[in-house]
């Protein structure tokens, strides 16, 4: 089954995707901006802290050099008691025993002169606490070390605030981005959808359908203009094709009519003259020529068919009618037509579909084998209706199938069999103008020709225009030849 008939569309998908992209971009941007700001702030604070601790440590070292341990210890204890500037102190001996200050135990592994983060036991306000500090270390003597630390509370709070604000910003950006992005991408999607709808209506036969061009004159308007120009061109071609077809019909048929009339008149007058055979042969040749011209015209007309001529119909009824017409002929040719019909609703021009079906059956009869069966079946498969004609003849080789659908192509190289090579290409054209497809497949053995049309449920109320008394065959001598 042709895949294009089964595809389902998801409305709003493009608008949602657009909004999602916009949101994603906004969220990433927000995160990057916040993080840069945060890490800059952290860096500045760290430098400030380094200066503070270095300054304090150097001042204490100076005080020790000037006044000795006693001055230092009393100063430290005084400072520790004041709890000023969140600073903590400790002077310890080589084994880590406290000599002065409010840090109780020397943090293990802390030796470097550079800023380091560690957890210490500290006494503040008469209580012993475990606190995280950033600390500087100085060596005062061979057996004496100084630690100056700063409580890291504000740093931790800053970090927490960073993560909190990051989460909040991302949430806000996501909500805003999704809603605004939805609105923004809807405009683009609206334009695209308007174009698609216009195209659909145009395809269904309303050749005057065009896209609206706004005075904004932006890219969307340019797209609309180009789109409209294409539609103009298609409309022009369809109309000129129709006109050309009518012109061809007239200009080609007039001289042919003269010749034929002249010959017939001569035949009427001539009695039993020896010219009779010549005249009859010429007339037969002319009939073949006329059949070809008519075949081309039918093809050209079918090509220019638009959906405004479509009515709801059932392929099963079309097949039944073709069966009624061809069953006696098949029997005469020593073959049997078998019907396997189930409802297969579609929209189309019934005369064209009947012509196509007749061509397929005629083909099957011509190429079928004596005593063979030709199965004519209709059915629904998913979103498509199908009409299948399967014979038991020699079939068509897979690599020749595409060529078989081309105009004037005949698989019989000698071109000795009767036919113009237009039959299958008419079927293919009829399938295409109905937005369907003709598939030639292997019937193991034989040819299996499948005509697929989009499924159309529900009949419209419009009665068929062609009443019995006012339609009829085209000119005499038309043949449905291959």
């Amino acid at each position: 089954m042709p895949a294009k008939l089964l595809r389902r569309r998801r409305p709003q998908a493009a608008a949602f995707r657009g909004a999602l992209w916009i949101t994603l971009i906004a969220v990433v941007t927000t995160m990057v901006a916040l993080s840069v700001q945060h890490f800059q702030t952290v860096r500045v604070l760290k430098i400030e802290l380094e200066h503070l601790l270095e300054g304090e440590a150097d001042a204490l070292v100076l005080r020790y050099r000037d006044g000795g341990f006693g001055v230092l210890a009393s100063y430290i204890d005084e400072q520790a008691l004041m709890q000023r500037r969140d600073l903590v102190y400790m002077v310890a001996d080589g084994a880590g025993r406290r000599l002065a200050g409010n840090v109780l135990i020397w943090p293990s592994g802390l030796a470097s002169e550079h800023l380091a983060i560690t957890i210490v036991r500290v006494r503040r306000g008469g209580q012993v606490q475990s606190r995280r500090i950033e600390a500087e270390v100085r060596t005062l003597g061979p057996d004496t070390r100084l630690l100056v630390g700063h409580l890291a509370d504000s740093r931790i709070a800053l970090g927490r605030r960073y993560w909190m604000s990051l989460a909040l910003s991302v949430l806000a950006t996501a909500v805003l981005g999704l809603s605004l992005g939805w609105l923004v991408s809807r405009r683009g999607v609206r334009v695209v959808r308007a174009a698609a709808d216009t195209g659909d209506r145009f395809l269904s036969g309303r050749l005057d359908e065009r896209l609206k061009v706004s005075p904004r004159d932006d890219e969307f308007d340019r797209l609309a203009e180009v789109f409209n120009a294409c539609l103009d061109e298609i409309e022009r071609m369809v109309r000129s094709l129709r006109a050309a077809t009518d012109g061809l019909a007239h200009d080609l048929k007039t001289p042919l009519t003269r010749i034929k009339a002249r010959l017939e008149l001569a035949a009427l007058r001539g009695g039993e003259s020896p010219q009779q055979d010549t005249l009859a042969e010429t007339a037969r040749d002319l009939d073949a020529l006329l059949a070809l011209v008519n075949g081309l015209l039918v093809l050209a007309r079918a090509d220019a068919t638009t959906a405004d001529n479509f009515v709801a119909l059932d392929l099963a009824e079309v097949a039944q009618e073709a069966y009624d017409l061809y069953a006696p002929l098949a029997e005469e040719a020593g073959q049997r037509l078998l019907l396997r019909l189930s409802p297969a609703p579609a929209r189309g021009v019934s005369s064209l579909l009947l012509h196509a079906t007749a061509n397929l059956i005629d083909n099957a009869i011509k190429h079928g084998t004596l005593g063979g069966q030709i199965v004519v079946a209709t059915a629904i498969h998913g979103a498509a209706s199908s009409l299948t004609i399967a014979d038991r003849g020699p079939g068509i080789a897979p690599d020749a199938r595409e060529r078989a659908l081309q105009r004037f192509s005949r698989l019989d190289e000698s071109r000795s069999t009767p036919g113009s090579g237009l039959g299958l290409s008419l079927v293919a054209t009829v399938a295409r103008v109905h937005r369907g497809q003709l598939i030639l497949a292997d019937n193991h053995p034989g040819l299996r020709a499948e005509l697929w049309l989009p499924l159309s449920r529900g009949r419209d109320q419009q009665p068929a225009r062609a009443g019995k008394q006012i339609t009829g065959a085209t000119a005499c001598g038309t043949g449905t030849e291959w």
Binding site: P328, T478, G479
Partner: protein, 225 residues
Amino acid sequence: MKLLLIEDDRTTASYVQQGLAELGHACDHAQTGLDGLTAALTNNYDAIILDRNLPQLDGLSVLQALRSQGQTTPVLILSALGQVDDRIKGLEAGSDDYLTKPFSFGELMARIAAIVRRGSGAATATTTLQVGDLELDLLARAAKRGARRIELLNKEFQLLEYFMRHAGQVVTRTMLLEAAWDYSFDPGTNVIDVHVSRLRGKLEHGDEPPLLHTVRGAGYQLYAR
């Protein structure tokens, strides 16, 4: 028969006129729509053959003007425009038949004969048709020849009814196709021939005299000798 031909192509007109003359019919020729309309309104014709593409006044307008004057002369439109839509337009405008160019002379004559008889013949509502010993009951949809009942399929019945309504006239294959199948395409003569030969097989059993005769190069004719 006295006929009027309204046709702008001189050559076609001349051949049609000569052909009709050969068969013993008189035929006036008008080359424009206006001339044709004047001729049709001032003379009494058995039938009018009307081209569609005419200078001054196109064929359909001529036809409408004729019909609005109360003229009921049978009109056969002759046109290169052979699509279903074109035919519908022509028949809606009031023509009795529509023949597409190029046409065969036999086809033209058969159709003129048909519309002339339709115009003059008694248009009474008949329920049975009879040709020789062949009888067709339109209400019961039953056919019999003498005492023999004939079983007919739907299409065969339609074909036979058409033949019997045109008994004695030449009926062409396209006329049959239009009458029984209303097709806008010609499936080829052999398809129609097969249907007719099946019908013939049912009509003529054993040594019953033939009823359905083949007219070479034209079509068929139903008559009892």
